[in-house]
Subunit: 109 residues, 2 copies
DNA sequence: TTAATATGCAACTTTTTGGTTGCGTATTGT
DNA sequence: ACAATACGCAACCAAAAAGTTGCATATTAA
């Protein structure tokens, strides 16, 4: 299996999955799979696969009710990606890329 | 072609590319393709492909010198992903997922 | 009770991705 | 001058990902 960061990045790297996730985030109520699928052009089963990927990543949760499965978003795992990125924040400051760093480092060589 | 956010997420979703990017970020000097490839188990040409993907995403830059091509990191595009995530920050607070939101909303219904 | 709905599951196809090998060529070191 | 090095390019390959269709089944509505 892949590591956690890869799993999360891959889950949100797909534009359809980002759309599904977004729809759930801004929805005022949990949505059934069919309700979600109706908003997309791909088949219901195609949507189900994306739902599964998002669920595995922890980005959505499911609530079975009778024959329906209601989905709702869980944005918390995005914190993990945010943390991953935090390390690189020190390198994305204005007019600073690593070329500058190398040049400055070797100035007195 | 894919949209910008997809391009960036896909670029860093691959663990090998994240490793290459990381190696360049922490390197004290720009590295040639061969120098990078020596740190990985895949072939030089395989690394070149990853470099191309990272370059297209703007996450690394290249500097041709004679027969060599030196790479250095450019973390700035990560800001775009950071911005994308900022929207969802309001939803990842402690003990808050969208289920809570739905429940609270319908409390007085 | 019968019809309609919501879904899962499995098999399959297509496209994308990550990787390879082989080869040609420009640049550099001896 | 010649060998070694650093690379690009193209063709190819295998596995993963994205999507499909068909069908079975449970739940709900009429």
């Amino acid at each position: 299996m892949q590591d956690r960061i890869t799993q999360l990045f891959k889950a949100i790297a797909d534009p359809t999955r980002r759309d599904i996730f977004h729809a759930l985030v801004i929805a005022s109520t949990a949505l059934s799979i069919t309700q979600i699928a109706n908003q997309f052009e791909i088949s219901r089963q195609g949507v189900t696969k994306h739902i599964k990927t998002l669920e595995d990543a922890g980005l959505i949760k499911l609530d079975n009710k009778g024959r329906e499965r209601f989905c709702y978003a869980n944005a918390k795992p995005l914190k993990e990606l945010n943390k991953w990125m935090q390390f690189y924040e020190q390198f994305w400051g204005d007019s600073l890329d690593n070329l500058d760093t190398y040049l400055n480092t070797n100035k007195n060589a």
